[in-house]
């Protein structure tokens, strides 16, 4: 699959809700606040100057609480919502310039979407739901059925293809939603709070499944969530949204170690840092001492695992090695403890 080249560039995106949104774009750019806009002019600022560059083949998480504009943002990628101003470039092509037929073609072949409340068709069986996108595209029945069955198997629903959505549990329904999206073989996967309606254990299962599938499929995933744990677990890159503005972007390490403001600091306070922080983010330069007998940890190991390894060895420092087994740094129990216990800005490098 050569789909991992599809990048998404969101540039200067503004969305204002109201009867005549266009006339307020310039005022917003010149510093009119959200409160003023709504109180004085009766318009709602949905998205304010969004710039995100999503590299192909990665999972981009957009995190925010309800009302932050995250669901509005994801709907701009396949233009279910028209922006007020700005551009969205997919592989360099501006989605907003597409005429209706081209947009339809783009939605049919380049994007697939998974919804919070599943968005399944209740009058169709599981297989007919999974092949819906292919049917819309005009693929013949036998072929689409074959593809559909393959994905039903991949998401662990064999034997359920003839059932109807309301006969399935929430977790299974979302598997159907995921299978429908994957059947489409689109390079962009849009997941709008896809797992928010599921209970915690099933949610963890689904997250694991997504990560496993992603290893092989390398799609450009846009994943919306209000759950920071989910964001940290899944996101190659995370954008945090508040009141329609991006307040921080970066990978999980950056957000945990250098939170941009108190809002984010409050968010990450209750997170299990050891589970998401990696040794690479806290390691120090290699010392001169004999490193031969020290335990070795792969780059990318989480602090949780590193601490466990060190505790069960007789050393208190481990060597970090990269993929080709070259030592690139060292991490000690003291560093790990400091990184885990520090709230917000750590003194580590």
């Amino acid at each position: 699959m050569s789909s991992n080249e599809t990048s998404i560039e969101i540039r200067d995106l503004y969305k204002i809700f109201g009867p005549s949104p266009r006339q307020y774009v310039d005022s917003i750019k010149n510093g009119l606040t959200k409160t003023e806009l709504s109180k004085v002019h009766g318009h709602i600022l949905g998205l304010n100057n969004i710039n995100i560059s999503m590299p192909g083949g990665k999972i981009q998480v957009v995190m925010g609480l309800s009302g932050s504009g995250k669901s509005t943002l994801i709907r701009h990628v396949n233009r279910l919502i028209e922006p007020t101003s700005g551009s969205i470039l997919v592989n360099g092509r501006n989605v907003l310039d597409m005429p209706e037929t081209e947009l339809r073609e783009f939605r049919r072949t380049h994007t697939a979407m998974v919804f919070q409340r599943f968005g399944l068709l209740p009058h169709r069986s599981v297989i007919d739901n999974v092949t819906f996108g292919l049917e819309v595209r005009g693929m013949d029945k036998a072929k689409s059925r074959e593809i559909g069955m393959r994905w039903i198997e991949r998401v662990g629903l064999n034997g359920f293809e003839a059932r109807y959505p309301n006969e399935l549990s929430g977790g299974m329904q979302q598997r159907v939603g995921l299978a429908r999206a994957l059947s489409n073989d689109a390079s962009i996967l849009l997941m709008d709070e896809a797992y928010s309606a599921l209970d915690p254990l099933i949610r963890t299962d689904m997250q694991k499944m997504l990560l496993e599938l992603q290893k092989e499929l390398k799609k450009t995933v846009v994943f919306i969530t209000h759950d920071l744990d989910e964001a940290l677990r899944l996101g190659d890159s995370i954008a945090i949204l508040r009141d329609g503005e991006i307040i921080q972007q970066g990978d999980s390490q950056r957000i945990l170690i250098h939170p941009a403001d108190d809002y984010i600091r409050r968010f990450i306070k209750d997170v299990n840092r050891a589970r998401y922080l990696k040794v690479d983010a806290v390691m120090e330069a290699l010392g001169q001492s004999d490193t031969g007998s020290m335990p070795k940890l792969k780059s990318g190991t989480t602090l949780e695992v590193a601490a466990g390894e060190l505790t069960s060895s007789s050393f208190d420092t481990a060597i970090i090695i990269d993929d080709s087994d070259r030592p690139i740094g060292a991490v000690s129990l003291r560093l790990i403890t400091a990184a885990i216990s520090s709230e917000g800005e750590a003194e580590v490098k």
Binding site: F115, H123, F132, G133, R137, N166, L190
Partner: protein, 328 residues
């Protein structure tokens, strides 16, 4: 009279409490002639009104004289179809009719109880000597329902899609549903005379609004997220309608069909006034001659047919919803 005394007292009290009011009341009494317009609505002069009425009636009559025949002729195919339906229903052997209706009931409901109810009702109607009239009524209602569905569902879809057309149609439906049927029977009879066709038209006018309204409603009630999913997967407008909106609106549309059938049956008595034969005519005779028993037998026969249609269409609607659980 104690009541008048009490009134006086109250008025006195009122006047005493508010001197300004007394002045006003006096002024009103004195200026009786000038204030007359307040109590008599300023209407168009009777002469003008008469001219308007005459003008409209006259031109309608002229229209009838000029085009009556050709309008009647243009409805000839409809007349043929209605007669054909009638001949089929009255000409077929009664066991066959019972068998066919029982078969339809089974197909729609898959329930023995519904089939038994249908067969029992038909036998009761036959035993009371109303078989022939009941077949006439069923044939008219059946034809009117088929026609109403055929016209009503497309109109309902258009009502949903075209905002302005929908607004106009909504007003028209309000008129159709509240205008007393006798009023629109007048021009229909003037143009087409009496008989099957005007009866059919009257029944359709009366019975078609629910199917139009409920088709529109059913489409509007389709879950927003499902529609969004359809858009996200690149459905064209017609794909969205036929693959998503229409099937999901089907239970509501079935409720509309059910209502249309019930309204059509309710109309058969009025339709009999303009020459439609069947159970309605018997009821009409019973009213005119005060034959209570004839009235009640025929009335119950109409109820029986209504229940047959109702159970069959309801059961079919429910079977359609089998997979949908509670979700709308």
């Amino acid at each position: 009279m104690p009541f008048a005394r009490a009134m006086d007292k109250a008025e006195l009290k009122f006047a005493a409490a508010d001197p300004a009011c007394t002045v006003l009341a006096q002024g009103g009494a004195e200026g009786g002639i000038e204030m007359d317009w307040l109590f008599k609505f300023p209407q168009v002069s009777p002469e003008a009104l008469l001219a308007i009425k005459r003008g409209i009636d006259g031109s309608l009559k002229a229209l009838t004289r000029l085009y009556g025949q050709s309008i009647e002729n243009s409805f000839y195919p409809l007349q043929r179809i209605l007669t054909f339906f009638e001949n089929v229903m009255t000409g077929a052997p009664w066991p066959l009719i019972i068998l066919v209706l029982a078969g339809i009931a089974w197909f729609a409901s898959h329930k023995g109880s519904v089939v038994a109810g249908v067969v029992g009702t038909l036998i009761a109607i036959g035993l009371l000597g109303l078989w022939h009239d009941a077949m006439l009524t069923i044939s008219l209602v059946f034809a009117a329902t088929i026609f109403s569905i055929g016209i009503g569902i497309p109109l309902g879809i258009m009502m949903n899609r075209l905002e302005r057309f929908g607004g106009v149609l909504k007003t028209l439906l309000d008129v159709m549903q509240t205008m007393p049927p006798f009023v629109y029977l007048i021009p229909v009879v003037m143009l087409l005379g009496i008989g099957r066709v005007p009866g059919f038209i009257a029944v359709v006018i009366y019975a078609i609004p629910p199917i139009i309204r409920l088709t529109d409603l059913g489409i509007r009630l389709v879950d927003k997220e499902v529609l969004e999913a359809a858009d996200a997967y690149g459905c064209s407008r017609s794909q969205k309608l036929w693959k998503v909106q229409f099937p999901l609106a089907m239970p509501t549309i079935m409720a509309g069909i059910n209502q249309t059938i019930m309204m059509a049956l309710g109309m058969v008595v009025i339709a009999s006034m303009i020459g439609v034969q069947g159970l309605g005519l018997n009821v009409l005779q019973a009213i005119a001659n005060q034959y209570f028993t004839q009235g009640i037998f025929n009335g119950f026969a109409i109820v029986g047919i209504a229940i047959i249609f109702d159970r069959i269409s309801q059961a079919y609607g429910q079977r359609l919803q089998k997979h949908r659980g509670g979700a709308a």
